[in-house]
Amino acid sequence: MVMNECRYGKTASRYFDGELDARESAAFEAHLAECAACRERLRAYRRLDALMGARPAAAPGPDLLVRLRARSEHSRPSPWKDAARMSRMLIPVAACLCLTLGVLLYAQIAQLRNTPAAPVAAQNPAQIAQAAQTVAQSGTPVFGYALSESERQYLFGDNADALAIVYPVADGQNTGNGM
């Protein structure tokens, strides 16, 4: 086997396959007349081609076509398959629906949490502080409001000793003139 390398090796392969145009073929044939390595390469390609040509084509089993037809028959889309495909398409819709419901539910719960607790009356600064602490346990900001005499009467009537009301406020709610 001549192992001489020639830079036209790939061209020889294309020439052998008839993939060169007329101009390229003529140029390669001119080269071929002078290059022993390329002549040897082409001889080897012809031998290889003859060897491969001696190989009979592989054939499938005689009943392959019958089996293929039977399998394609079974793979015909059935109404059940259509229903399954539909249900697969509905999964994203159902997911969106669940998400929307979840968001609505969460908003509802958040709104309930933000509802201010009942005001607590306090009669002196210590009680105001204690009431504020009790109310503040909910974790929301606390707003205390010192009552005027008329307000005290109006809101608490007999409980006339109340000095202020303390209650939690929702985020962002204007606290006015807090204590």
Partner: protein, 187 residues
């Protein structure tokens, strides 16, 4: 070809005309009769259902070979995950592989019993898969470089290069047989 809904018989006739050639190409890629039949079944089903979408941008045979070679590649990839890649095996392993495959396929068995046939298959299977697919399409399916490029989704330059390298490797691996046969083919 305009996209049209083909009736079942037409579909089957079109595919039946190509099955044997597709099988041969896939068999050359995989080197195993049973694997080739499994792949061809998938190819047939895919082509059967996809025929309505075939728009005739390329020849039907090119489209079918594209499906078949993609399926063969996928099968090789799948197989190489669980087992070992068929290329790059030792001489002894390839011999065992060739003998093991003789157990299947009545048509191939007759052929593979011959030493030359076994040597050819061994040499073919020892080619890297990307060289083998180019060589198989050119040598056994008589496809032009342009068609091969279309089928495999690669450039013409890559086809030329892979074909050349496949030939050179086969020439080296099969040199003793080529000497023995003494045939110069067309010469």
């Amino acid at each position: 070809m305009e996209p049209a809904v083909l009736d079942r018989d037409t579909r089957e006739q079109l595919l039946a005309a190509h099955v044997n050639k597709l099988f041969n190409a896939v068999f050359c890629m995989l080197g195993n009769h049973q694997d080739a039949e499994d792949v061809i079944q998938d190819v047939y089903l895919k082509a059967h259902t996809g025929l309505d979408e075939f728009r005739g941008d390329a020849a039907l045979s090119t489209w079918l070979y594209t499906i078949a070679m993609n399926a063969a590649r996928a099968h090789l990839r799948k197989k190489s995950r669980g087992l070992r890649v068929v290329t790059g095996l030792s001489e002894q392993e390839l011999e065992l592989l060739a003998r093991a495959d003789d157990e299947t396929g009545p048509v191939e068995r007759r052929f593979e019993d011959q030493e030359l046939g076994r040597a050819l298959r061994k040499a073919l299977m020892n080619l890297p898969a990307e060289f083998r697919e180019v060589f198989v399409l050119r040598q056994f399916e008589d496809k032009s470089y342009r068609d091969i490029a279309r089928i495999l989704g690669i450039s013409m330059g890559t086809v030329e290069s892979r074909m050349y390298r496949a030939r050179e490797k086969l020439r080296k691996d099969l040199w003793p047989h080529m000497q023995r046969s003494g045939s110069d083919g067309h010469e």
